[in-house]
Amino acid sequence: MISRAQFYLLTVNFTLGTTLFVTINEIIQRGKRDAWLMPLWAGAYGMLAALLWILLLRSSPGKSPVQIAREAWGPAGVIVGILYLLWFCMIGAWALRNVSDFMNVTIMPRTPPSMFHVMFLLVASYTVVQGTETIGRLNGIVTPFLVFPFWTILMLATVDWDWERLLPAFQNPWEIFRFTSLMGFPFMETFALMMLYPKVRSGAAGALLLGLASAAMSISLVVFMVTGLLGPERAGRINYPIYTVVQEVEFGKIIVNIHSVLIVILITLIFIKLLVLLYAAFETIRELSRPAARWPHLVALSILLSAAAVVIYENPIQNRILSNKITFAYDSFYTILIPSLMLLSLRIRRAIQSRGRRS
């Protein structure tokens, strides 16, 4: 069992995970000077979606979505469970690929990507084996080491701040609503956290919503700062704007390059995301087949994930097209459509049952 605070932190870190890495430039490219509004709006949508999930999980307390699927649809629920398993693996592989792409582009160009995947999966598997509490505590103890350095570095970077970069503001405020994939990634992906939801002692719903809100605000603030520090012209084109921001900070003459600190922070955030996804996938397996041993399944999952991470997309351009065109529909299927159907059939089934009992 994990506490409410731990679940809150997990939600925030999961949402920030790869977002701070890969979507910032996309957001700024689309939203230009008003880009910082986009995460807020997408976050609000994410919270609405979360309300649906909470409704679903409250209808069968203590059960995870996979278990609910089996309750609602019986054997057909197993298929849903397998779909979810694949979806979790898919997002996990995506997160892994983001790590290796980033490392290859920035500081370690010649290391084979699979090495990054395998190392991360090894650590994540070990953590998942230790159980839910370990995940919650690990995240809890890591968070302060992420939050304070991250914001300190960004604050220090504000020596280059220029308000002119954010003006003129609110030129085409509706443009921001057209970037739908931001709703899918990162906000709808947080559905993976619902596998942890039943393990939270109490108040998980509030923690989830608050976590989504905090994450949306954090992303918005980061976008705002990146825009003000790099200008929309550069930030929209540079692949990893935060990295560039920090790369260009100089403190006096001595500490010129502190971007490695940032790399560590961002990668740790992705690790948290991967951890939750691996846990979700593993938990799905456990709920579907109740295996006695843990390691064989985790090893299998790791092999699957590390292989999927290599083939998930061929090049960054394909990645951008994939994530822009498909993400929203793809994620909606898993996080809106299936949960709504499950909720509906649960309601119907219960209505029938209670009528049967009455008569």
Binding site: I107, E133, R137, L138, V142, I255, I267
Partner: protein, 485 residues
């Protein structure tokens, strides 16, 4: 063996049997005392284990003057115990044998058919001395000794409280060592006491010569570099932990006492923290924390920065390091690894060698391996500095066994850094953290009160708050956790 007649024969038989069973050792003494004409009282003891003054001045003289107490001694009395003469001879012999080898004096009055065991244990050993591994500047200079009786006294001296409990048990089928469980009945959580008791009772071993024997049997997880039981030779520290509701385990024959449960932050606390001013103690605690990170991570970060992420190093320093490395044959990773290994060797040699050659060794270590290696261009100067820093920071840690785990971790991280640079170190660090948060000591999460977080207890973790501002009578989070269960 056939049934023997009671009386005179049983005394001499017993004495003879014991002599044969022990193989007629030179220190076995069988004296025949004659208080009055017809009576002979046999007195058997091991000369090397008993207090001869007690025997001569008290037992022998009182028997001879016929003033020896003849009333029925209470059977529960540890000091004088009477065995029923009517018991089967086999049992009697076994009990007497056991008594003799644990330093008791056996009195057999064959005529009046009585048999006493009198505790006269006084094994040779050190007197109370300064603790060797945990010296302090301010605070008591007493350390535990190898004698469990003295150790009990040292604790009693500090806690004059009727709730203090000592539970004795004998572990080790061959050595038959005395192990003592100590706790405060009113403070220690019942679950904890029960857990320790049952884990101790479950030990199946032939000998217990040191508390580490016990430690390995009762700790929660064996595959971990971190100690999950605290060991100390300071009675004041033990008393402090007992007063926090923890349980101590003492083993006869060693000054090291085990304390359970242990949480990670306690490894950074020294007894002296509580005898110093709060601000100074806080500062020193932070120094220890920094030293811990330096001892574990400094060489690996050095390797990562110099062989993978040169952009991290300021330009001037990079030029200087580059100049130092001109002509150095080994890669930086191997340089660091080799120097660390050499340092460990010097250190181990320094511990084990006779005191008299210590001077020579430090000269060899410092000059030959440091200065000469640098001047010969085999090792770059920066590496020597890094290794020296990690070596020194490693000594800062107040708990010796924790220092050992740091050394192990350091090598792991050097390997990881040489393998994948900062990413490797990061993976290692995450693995380590995952391991730490999953670790438990007698059911208490190892990282309490950091994860799970418990703000009330932070006053004695990252800082040492002044005593008046700590909540009075607040047991540590680890113990409160157990009490809730």
């Amino acid at each position: 063996m056939g049934r023997r007649t009671k009386g005179r024969s049983i005394g001499s038989d017993l004495a003879g049997d014991i002599q044969t069973m022990l193989g007629s050792p030179p220190d076995l003494v069988c004296r025949s005392l004659i208080p009055d004409g017809d009576r002979i009282v046999q007195c058997i003891y091991l000369d090397s284990l008993v207090d001869k003054r007690t025997i001569d001045e008290f037992i022998v003289s009182s028997v001879q003057q016929n003033t020896f107490a003849e009333g029925p001694a209470a059977s529960g009395n540890q000091y004088i115990q009477e065995l029923p003469f009517t018991a089967p001879y086999e049992t009697l012999r076994q009990q007497v044998l056991q008594a003799v080898i644990t330093g008791k004096c056996v009195l057999i009055d064959a005529v009046r058919e009585r048999l006493w065991l009198i505790d006269t244990y006084n094994a040779p050993g050190r007197q109370v001395d300064e603790p060797r591994t945990e010296p302090t500047i301010r605070g008591p200079y007493e350390g535990f000794t190898e004698n469990i009786r003295i150790n009990i006294g040292l604790i009693r001296k500090r806690i004059a409280n009727p709730s203090l409990r000592f539970e004795q048990m004998t572990i080790g089928s061959q050595s038959g060592s005395t192990v003592m469980m100590v706790y405060m009945e009113n403070l220690a959580p019942e679950t904890l006491v029960r857990e320790v008791r049952s884990r101790l009772a479950a030990i199946r071993t032939d000998s217990v010569l040191e508390s580490s024997y016990v430690e390995e049997y009762i700790e929660d997880r064996i595959l971990t570099p971190f100690p999950t039981l605290l060991n100390t030779e300071r009675p004041d520290k033990t008393a402090a932990h007992l007063l926090e509701g923890k349980v101590a385990v003492m083993v006869n024959g060693t000054p090291f006492v085990l304390i359970a449960p242990l949480t990670f932050h306690e490894l950074f606390n020294s007894a002296e923290d509580y005898y110093q001013r709060a601000d100074i103690a806080t500062f020193i605690r932070w120094i220890r924390l920094i030293s811990f990170f330096a001892a574990v991570f400094a060489p690996s970060l050095f390797v990562a920065a110099t062989t993978f992420h040169q952009e991290l190093i300021p330009t001037e320093l990079l030029i200087s390091l580059s100049a130092q490395r001109e002509g150095v044959p080994l890669p930086a990773f191997l340089e660091v690894l080799l120097m660390e290994i050499v340092f460990e060797i010097i250190r181990e040699a320094g511990l084990r060698m006779p005191r008299a050659v210590g001077q020579a060794l430090s000269i060899v270590g410092a000059i030959v391996l440091g200065q000469a290696a640098v001047e010969a261009g085999l090792i770059s100067a920066a590496v020597v500095i890094v290794v020296a820093v990690t070596g020194i920071t490693n000594f800062v840690v107040p708990v010796y066994s924790f220092g050992m785990s740091q050394r192990l971790l350091r090598f792991t991280f050097i390997l990881l850094a040489g393998f994948m640079g900062l990413f490797g170190v990061l993976c290692g660090a995450l693995f380590l953290l995952a391991h730490l948060v999953s670790l438990k000591s007698f059911g208490v999460p190892y990282l309490t009160p950091l994860a799970p977080a418990n703000k009330d207890d932070w006053r004695d973790v990252l800082i040492r708050a002044p005593r008046p501002s700590m909540k009075p009578n607040l047991l540590p989070a680890s113990i409160r956790r157990l009490k809730r269960k």
